[in-house]
Amino acid sequence: MNEIPQMDDQAAPEPKRLSRQGEERRKLLRSAAVGGAMVCAALAGFFQHKFANAAPRLRPPGALDEEAFLAACIKCGQCVQVCPVRAIHLADLHEGVGNGVPYIDARAQACDFSCDATQCILACPTGALSHGIDKKEQVRMGVAKLVAPDACLARKGEGVKGPARGAAFPGLLRYEQVDRWRPQPVAKHEYNLDSCDLCVRECPIEGAIAMEPLTNDPADKRRTPVVRKSCVGCGVCEMMCPAEPAAIRVEIMTTGREEGVRRS
């Protein structure tokens, strides 16, 4: 095929003109095929999201309800950049229309509101992380739930000696008594607890979770964590739970996340 249009328009002989017409038709068909392929590729992302039934992702604080969030997010990662504990990651192409959308893997690194809440929200240029939130207590990412009660150390009456998740765990947490401003490695923090209460002790939301006796017997050391309505689903309890896999986990909300949003 000619790359350069020729300058001189010589009248082409008849058979050549026919083949030029054929070439034009082929070009049109090729273009339609390529266009179709591109739309199909994008639609694959859509169907992947609609029908693959993948487990929902924990979204950063302030995220709109899932469908609105996916639409409103411009996939820039500014929320990733401001997070002091690097809790936020961007999803990749295999998550379909979720490609480039931020999520949190709470077990690996939960949002502990080290930033004094909602830096990611302030960084969001589109309001996908709702600008109507300005306190961590308004956030609704999910709700913590004791998913494996039998694994819970408190319910077994067991304590914790040493770091919560072992010496190799890379996660960070704000230990205010150590440093008000810089989150500290969880692995560097030694605990010495007769009865494990890490999910309650390290919860950044006051009154969101409490330890209650398992039985009425005062001699019984066993306790059980009880999650209250004010839980925001940040996942710190999930990150800190020494049981493997975690006994307490965040049940991710995909709707109802905007409940705490200040309407203006």
Binding site: H49, I74, C76, L93, V97, T126
Partner: protein, 359 residues
Amino acid sequence: MKPGFLSRTLNGLAMLLGRQPTKPEPEEMTEDSRALHAFKKTPAERKRRKAAIAAERAEEGHSHKWRNRRWASIIAVNGVFVLSYWLDLQLVEGALTASRVFGFHFADLNSSLQLMLAHKHVVLNLVIGVTTVLALYLLFGGRSFCSWVCPYHLLSEIAEMLHLKLADKRLVKNHELDRRLRVALFVVFAALAFATGYTLFETISPVGIVSRALTYGTAVGLIWVLLLLLVEIFWSRRFWCRYVCPIGLTYGFAGVAAPVRILYDGTKCFHEGKCRQVCLVPHVLDMTKLGYAAEVRSPVGPDCTRCAMCLDACPTGALTFDIAGVTRRPPVEPPPLTPPPEGPQVGVGRAGAKTEPVA
């Protein structure tokens, strides 16, 4: 229509929308331009050009000055994104879809358009970001982004080099597509965003994918980018940028009358077509064919990415950067009534590139 700003702009818009360039009728040309064409078609002038071209071809090789500057620009801009994050410099945060530059919001026009259509709601920060970027594109020409910033463009240029090498050896053949495809895809993706409520184009946009992969290490998406590059190498030269990318179309509209542009000077041109050979969007250089320019000095249309490959390729300095109303040029001289004396040295060389660009 009379030659001038309006006819140029309308023609530029029509070509953005996929119209094939046409040769203007004599009444659509300026008097000077008609005279220049007539002069250039005189046998003596043809002969002089031929001799000059022969002399010029004796010393082969062409400059890569602009390409090198552009590559430096692409690497620098994307490098600042990456370093800002990894070294926590906080100069440019985000990705090419949206960012904060020294704290100021920037938002990509096409990403924002998709988002507004899908989400049907706009917040102030986004309006600020869009306005800032739109102002830049109105000034510099939207598609300047393509060749001076877009990281996919750089990858695609390398793929193009491979394609041309293989095509030279007749191992691959370029398959041209219809430029109206881009318009169709723009409409389809806009409609899909509105109808489904998802920014579907974002899912497959190699600009966002490469930009995020560089900064955040999301590497799975690069498989898709690699696939696109393979298509460009083996099947259709620069097919994404030429025929598919709706981003380029959005930017083209934004820069439809941008003062920063490339200017074609018909008096210096030998009509060798070297510029069209290297051009990503050769339809914008149709006026460089002998007898096609409506004006003696014609600005290149809005689909032009200001990549300046044509400046590098042009042996006569007929193409230069220009800022409307700022760059000073001597008035157009009427063609001489008698052709200059014959001689290969006349008019050869890289003269004429007097203006420095602001890009």
